[in-house]
């Protein structure tokens, strides 16, 4: 069988399992089916979509942004405000949230992409802090630390199964956009911009355009996930906007395999399943995550995907730019 057919079979199988998951779970574990579907099924898909949207910027454009939760938060709060205030339908919240997040990302990008490397990250760190402060203090809209509660479930998808299929659709859309931006000409351009921005310019590529594309698209997708999450757990609090989720995103992306779709999806699923199985106390969990992130980024920056690729293809070198120096540094010669 050719590689393409094999891949199609694989995708088909995964899709079939995902589509049938509610039924599978109900038959396989009838007592726990709601719990499983909610925490594992929906939970993983939320993180898959959120992490893929993040990886566009971090793994493909090479821009480490610390402001990603802010866009998720824009989505969540927009949905919360619109649905509790005006009873707007889900789709309307999506449209407004995505537009708002996109606009915010355009502004942030325009302000900070002129800065190189770390300075961009610092700027986005500031954005995250500021978003958190606004969320806490703009109480007339966000109700501050009291959170916005009693957000209704989406009409037409109010029960758990319905919400599962909704997030499945969202994750599929995210995956599709991810594939569109990371293959072909755009994918090549992003790889060039993250690998050696100066060299990319030598061939006529405008790095700003590509960074913005990844950043703004990622922001809009994050907002989409945020809208879902608001309608799903029915509560939106200010800490969704700060740096809290950034740790989770970083762990998923690095543990799984930064810049690779399979790696990021794997990381998202692992990140959902393992804590559920382990049931850590909150503080200890964050501490462990921090340690894991530190160890991974220093000693195995290509994550599980890197290990897999090395095992499957017997590659000796790194998979991503994180495992080595970037522009100008020659590798060990391989005749």
């Amino acid at each position: 069988m050719s590689a393409t057919i094999l891949r199609l079979w694989w995708i088909g199988a995964v899709a079939a399992v995902l589509l049938a998951l509610p039924a599978i779970v109900r038959v396989g574990a009838p007592g726990m089916s709601n719990y499983l579907l909610n925490n594992y099924g929906i939970g993983s898909l939320v993180w898959v979509a959120f992490a893929l949207s993040y990886d566009l910027s971090v793994g493909h454009a090479g821009t480490v942004t610390l402001a990603h939760p802010a866009f998720f938060g824009i989505g969540a709060y927009t949905a919360a405000v619109l649905s509790t205030g005006t009873h707007a339908p889900f789709l309307a919240a999506v449209v407004v949230a995505v537009v708002l997040a996109g606009a915010a990302a355009l502004v942030v990008g325009a302000l900070f992409f002129r800065l190189s490397d770390v300075f961009f990250a610092i700027g986005t760190l500031g954005v995250a802090f500021m978003a958190n402060i606004v969320a806490v203090n703009w109480q007339s809209v966000t109700k501050g630390a009291l959170c916005i509660t009693q957000i209704p479930h989406p009409q037409g998808a109010a029960d758990l199964t319905g919400r599962y299929y909704l997030i499945l659709a969202i994750a599929a859309v995210t995956a599709l956009v991810y594939v569109a931006l990371t293959r072909g000409r755009v994918g090549r351009a992003l790889a060039a911009v993250r690998g050696d921005e100066g060299l990319a310019q030598t061939f006529g590529a405008n790095p700003f355009v590509y960074k913005m594309l990844a950043f703004v698209t990622g922001a809009m997708l994050a907002a989409l996930v945020g809208v879902f999450q608001a309608h799903h757990i029915s509560v939106v609090c200010p800490d969704t906007l700060g740096t809290f989720y950034t740790l989770n995103l970083l762990i998923i992306v690095f543990l799984g395999g930064v810049g690779t779709m399979r790696g990021v999806v794997l990381g998202a699923v692992l990140f959902t399943i393992i804590p559920e199985l382990a049931r850590f106390a909150q503080v200890l969990a964050q501490l462990v995550y921090g340690v894991v992130l530190l160890v991974v980024v220093l000693y195995a920056p290509d994550g599980v995907e890197g290990v897999l690729q090395r095992a499957l293809h017997r590659r000796r070198g790194p998979v991503s730019i994180w495992g080595r120096e970037t522009a100008g540094d020659p590798a060990e010669p391989k005749t």
């Binding site: 090549r188 050696d196 100066g198 990319a200 030598t202 006529g204 070198g317 730019i321 522009a327 020659p330």
Partner: protein
């Protein structure tokens, strides 16, 4: 060379590169001071001079990596001072760097595909949607890439990631990428540095063929044999200033040039 599309006939009156009074100071040193240089379309010019004479800085100012403090750069008659590097590149200006640079995570073939794609002017939204027109452009580019790779001898490595290549192979890849981009004005910064004699011969042949098709080439080199073999015209910089500019035989014998390199008079005075 079949890899290139048909060249337009260039009249010798075309000035490919016109540098007027260019000065650049950085890290506390006057790297380039008041340099004038005119290169006609189709010329092959060698840019030489002792270490630290400002050659690379000059090249950086031409390609837009650095911004000159004073003076102007005109490329094909357009005033490009202050333009970002990518905009200058789109005028079909190519550059090969002193320490070789490739896109490490892309395959050899993809490096070449990237080299040409942002010079073809197809819109971004078409690329995002992976429209058939875009895919057709890529298919054509793949064909050309095969030819360019054959010219440098890397065709068997087309699927290998660029970081796995040796230094010499990366040099060849950089050359192939430049061929792919097919610039009208090519600037090479020490292309023969750190490679063995066989590769030097290969690269020299490539440069000659490239130039023979009507393109303008400016080469910075320290390898004197190569420079004297290749370049009919030499420009010499010393400590940021131009001290000689003319036919190679004359420049070789120029007193000021010999002094700059061997420092006889300067050393004797100090």
């Amino acid at each position: 060379m079949n890899a290139a599309p048909a060249r337009r006939a260039s009249s010798s009156a075309d000035i490919a590169l016109d540098i007027r009074g260019l000065s650049k100071r950085f890290l506390g040193v006057q790297a380039v001071g008041g340099v004038d240089l005119r290169v006609r379309s189709g010329e092959l010019v060698g840019l030489i001079g002792p270490n630290g004479s400002g050659k690379t800085t000059l090249m950086n100012c031409i390609t837009g990596i650095m911004r000159a403090d004073r003076g102007e750069v005109l490329i094909k008659g357009l005033r490009t001072s202050g333009w970002p590097a990518y905009r200058i590149a789109r005028l079909r200006v190519g550059r090969i760097f002193q320490v070789v640079r490739v896109i490490p995570t892309l395959t050899v073939e993809d490096n070449l595909l990237f080299a040409v794609q942002d010079l073809q002017g197809d819109p971004l939204w078409a690329r995002v949607l992976h429209l058939p027109a875009t895919r057709r452009l890529d298919a054509e580019a793949r064909g050309r890439a095969e030819e360019c790779l054959s010219l440098v001898g890397l065709q068997d490595r087309r699927r290998q990631p660029a970081w796995s290549l040796s230094y010499g192979q990366r040099k060849l890849l950089a050359f192939a990428s430049t061929l792919m981009a097919d610039p009208d004005l090519l600037l090479l910064d020490e292309p023969m540095a750190a490679v063995n004699p066989a590769v030097i011969e290969h690269l020299a042949r490539l440069i000659r063929t490239f130039h023979a098709a009507g393109r303008t080439v400016v080469i910075i080199e320290h390898n004197m044999k190569v420079i004297f073999d290749l370049c009919p015209r030499l420009v010499v910089l010393d400590r940021g200033a131009k001290i000689a500019d003319g036919p190679a035989e004359d420049v070789r014998r120029d007193r000021a040039v010999i002094d700059a390199y061997f420092g006889t008079q300067r050393d004797a005075r100090s």
